[in-house]
Subunit: 200 residues, 2 copies
């Protein structure tokens, strides 16, 4: 087939990233008995940003937030999903992921490769308003899932409310309102016996 | 739990739309042996718009295109997926979907409900530049999947190249370049014996 080189690279990238649909997370979907995959997770976060943007502490460029959320987990195609509470897995997470970012985004024409790499790096650094709001979506979503799914991964991996609070406190950097809401979910989960206060 | 009403409605909506992850399409994913669901499909289309925007015939507001693609299949939570080549299913498709749109978007605070309804109606009407480009992503993606998956649904449902050309000709309204590419995929599929020219 004759196609111009740029378009060929773009299509090749779009075929490659279909693999995100096969990367399983630890969290289950709410309306079904299976683990969530990274592609549908990314869609859900983009929808959250669209719906919850007014709760951001600072004004954000919504397109940038959504772009970050669409691409933020692509590196897991090579590096795999690292569980939120896996402290060992987190020691070499960045190294594994930066390598993946270069391989994957490198499939694209150079200018786009650079744009996606920059978006991913900005998301990871959590310094800009957009990255902080995007990151708060990524933290809040599994809380909602676990709250809806009777504790799910909290129960399965024996996670305490203290760990959940520590891990998710940074939601406040993106949205004080959503952090207040997250704390209510966590308290409600403790009250309902689906999240324990301390290691048993 | 005490949460302000708007936020409560927004969260309820975000929990409800998790159901999109359980709505199966007819098309298989590329890197795995199972059907694609609407949520991961919507993510893939949003990524396509991000990567392929320069091929749009007309300049488009990318944020609007991506918003449309994120929400375009939500109505299928109630109305189900209607197969592209199912002429009977298409007779009452719009009635089923408009009813679903009102129920689903109606969960949201009024202003947001109206915004999402308008986005969906604009996508369906295929008149604006954004809707035409978004729609061309929705047409092109299953072509790429079937081409990668040795014919897949074309084979399974005995679809001919004439049907595929007729169904997808409107890609040209969004992007002449991508329609040229789509025709090459279709021709290549015929040449490779994974798509037949006429009913057997």
């Amino acid at each position: 087939m004759v196609v111009n080189d740029s378009l060929q690279e773009q299509i090749q990238f779009l075929i490659e990233i279909d693999k995100l649909k096969t990367i399983e997370r630890k969290t289950r979907i709410i309306h079904g008995d299976r683990l969530e995959n990274d592609a549908e997770h990314s869609w859900h976060l983009a929808m959250m940003a669209l719906i919850l943007q007014s709760h951001s502490n600072k004004e954000v460029d919504l397109l940038k937030v959504i772009k970050m959320l669409l691409v933020h987990d692509l590196v897991e195609i090579d590096a795999g999903d690292t569980f939120a509470y896996d402290t060992v897995g987190h020691t070499d997470k960045y190294d594994r992921e930066i390598k993946a970012a270069h391989r994957l985004f490198g499939i694209l024409p150079e200018e786009q490769a650079q744009e996606l790499l920059n978006l991913w790096l900005e998301f990871e650094a959590k310094e800009t308003n957009e990255a902080q709001f995007a990151s708060s979506m990524d933290r809040l979503q599994p809380l909602i899932h676990n709250h809806q799914n009777e504790g799910d991964t909290w129960q399965k991996y024996n996670i305490t409310s203290e760990q959940v609070l520590n891990r998710n406190r940074e939601i406040a950097n993106g949205s004080e309102t959503l952090w207040t809401y997250a704390q209510q979910i966590i308290q409600d989960s403790v009250d309902n016996g689906i999240l324990t206060k301390s290691k048993s």
